[in-house]
């Protein structure tokens, strides 16, 4: 039996969407490292050279990050990361990336697996939650975050910096 074409197109659409979100998540975190004291503090506490992979599924799109002295950089692939957060399916990841559920709810629903030190994972999760607070509209963050974070810079400004890449 083959996957139906409807399902195939839906999966492709979700993968594309997740790639876009991962792009903004990385760029957002990078921008907020400069402009949000809470994200700066979290990332500063990561050891230099720490690697982290956020994968939308085992073979789905992923965001690979390395901590450097000036913040974080995105790399194409990391074979054995210190921290790995991998969703069990593209569809599970889509629930989070499309703002239907938050990371806390996704964890409660066993949507992802985690490899590595859970204390460091908690710091990564706090960064993701804070970044979502800027990237998603408040009507969405009120539903998916346990507490909507106070913004230290405007969301439009974050998007502009993220798109322009500085």
């Amino acid at each position: 039996m083959q996957v139906s074409s409807k399902r195939k197109w839906m999966t492709r659409g979700k993968i594309l969407f997740e790639k876009v979100i991962l792009f903004f998540l990385y760029r957002g975190m990078k921008v907020l490292y400069k402009y949000d004291t809470r994200i700066y503090e979290e990332i500063s506490n990561w050891p230099i050279g720490m690697t982290m992979v956020l994968a939308a599924a085992e073979k789905g799109p992923k965001l690979c990050i390395r901590k450097v002295s000036w913040g974080i950089v995105r790399v194409s692939d990391i074979e054995d990361p210190d921290i790995m957060i991998a969703f069990k399916s593209i569809d599970g990841a889509f629930l989070v990336f499309s703002g239907q559920i938050g990371t806390s709810q996704a964890y409660a629903q066993h949507r992802f697996l985690v490899k590595g030190d859970i204390a460091k994972v908690m710091s990564v999760v706090r960064c993701i939650d804070l970044t979502e607070g800027y990237l998603f509209p408040e009507i969405m963050t009120r539903r998916i975050l346990r507490k909507v974070p106070e913004k230290q810079i405007g969301s439009i400004s974050v998007y502009c910096h993220a798109i322009l890449g500085f």
């Binding site: 790995m84 990371t103 806390s104 709810q105 964890y107 409660a108 629903q109 066993h110 697996l113 985690v114 490899k115 590595g116 030190d117 859970i118 204390a119 460091k120 994972v121 908690m122 710091s123 999760v125 975050l145 346990r146 507490k147």
Partner: protein
């Protein structure tokens, strides 16, 4: 109400009651094992609890291939590795853990080491990232009624070299069987009985109120609360009360099954930190923190706590209490139980009683925020919130 999605697994067989120990041999044979390694600690060896297990096994035709009793109160990677070597040297094919949380967690570590065939446990650190591996028959015999470790998918093992507490979460860590025999908890002193019993109550209350709760974990949690309320004080008053002891062992096991599937929240996150930073015994930390954390979560969980009044105080008090007051009454009920246990056994009620120094609050708060349990607490918790709770619980 059904959650939009949930998972539940409880594959551990329970052997509960009189002569349960005598069925260990049968269970092991059924699992295809005949050369178990028996893990325990020096105290249990000294007071004869371990001998009870060895006698029960010998009388049914099986002897352990190896016995290891040098397990300290905080299990560590070094100990797990050492036991792993002994396991292989003695040609063992299964594990029996006789003890409290530390012994059972150590056994889970050994089980991982053997079943996953890895050199370093660090490789397996994480949540739900493990595959089944080779099956190692594993039987847990708890000797306290509190941790519920015999029914949980979690193991915490210290890596002293790297100064980290490694957390492992996987359904493949669940023992094949848990043996609840009243002989195994008969010698627990009153204060430890109260402290560990309160830990079980805390597991059940957090399991019933955390984000991962589901109808099956709720059923285990409420049954556990009822058993604790009905039996904990009797077990503290009279340690030889077999009925109360067995009921508490069951309560602990049920609460373990509940929180293994719905996780625990901020009480445990702060409690773990108090244990790590200030060496506060886990059960004592739970006792002290539970009412204050319930108050903190009240805005989000008032109605859910209200439902628990039925199990904490019974149907008459529940029916007589207006719906909007039930949550508050549930918290008061927990506080009253604490006071009674304090009078009976000297159970500490404040952080000052537990000899916590206020200067450690900063380290406790920072550690607590990095505990995985914070992720499923229904209300968001920040640094200042933890400091506030610690101050409230101080005296």
């Amino acid at each position: 109400m059904l959650p939009s999605y949930y998972e539940f697994q409880n594959s551990t067989k329970i052997l509960s009651g009189k002569n349960a120990l005598e069925n260990i041999t049968y269970e092991l044979k059924g699992l295809g094992a005949s050369r178990p390694i028996l893990l325990s600690d020096k105290v249990l060896e000294k007071i004869g609890s371990l001998q009870n297990v060895i006698d029960a096994m010998a009388s049914t035709g099986m002897e352990p291939a190896e016995v290891y009793t040098d397990i300290p109160s905080d299990s560590s990677v070094a100990i797990v590795n050492k036991i792993g070597e002994k396991y292989k040297e003695a040609g063992c094919d299964s594990i029996i853990a006789v003890g409290g949380g530390s012994v059972i967690d150590t056994a889970k570590g050994v089980e991982m080491l053997i079943s996953q065939d890895v050199r370093d446990l660090l490789e397996l650190q994480g949540c739900e990232s493990m595959t089944r591996g080779n099956h190692v028959p594993f039987i847990a015999v708890p000797t306290t009624s509190g941790t519920g470790s015999e029914m949980t998918l979690v193991a915490v093992i210290k890596n002293i070299e790297k100064s980290v507490k490694m957390e492992f979460i996987s359904n493949y860590l669940l023992p094949d069987a848990a043996v609840l025999d009243p002989r195994m908890t008969a010698t627990l002193p009153p204060k430890t009985t109260a402290s560990t019993g309160f830990d079980a109550l805390c597991h059940a209350i957090e399991a019933y109120s955390c984000n991962q709760k589901n109808p099956l974990s709720d059923a285990y949690a409420t049954a556990a609360i009822k058993l604790v309320v009905e039996n904990l004080e009797d077990a503290v008053r009279d340690g030889k009360n077999t009925k109360a002891r067995l009921a508490m062992a069951n309560a602990s096991t049920m609460a373990g099954a509940a929180f293994s599937n719905s996780m625990v929240g901020m009480v445990h996150a702060i409690g773990h930190a108090l244990g790590g930073v200030c060496r506060v015994p886990h059960g004592d930390a739970m006792t002290i923190l539970l009412p204050f954390c319930m108050l903190y979560n009240y805005k989000k969980l008032g109605d859910i706590y209200g439902e628990l009044l039925l199990y904490l105080e019974g149907p008459e008090v529940y029916a007589q209490t207006p719906a909007n007051k039930r949550g508050e009454e549930a918290i008061k009920s927990v506080r009253r139980m604490e006071r009674r246990l304090h009078k009976l056994s000297g159970l500490p009620m404040t952080l000052k009683d537990a000899k916590v120094d206020k200067k450690d609050f900063d380290a406790v708060a920072r550690t607590a925020l990095n505990d995985g349990a914070m992720l499923v607490n229904p209300a968001a918790v920040e640094y200042d919130d933890v400091i506030m709770i610690l101050n409230q619980a101080y005296e």
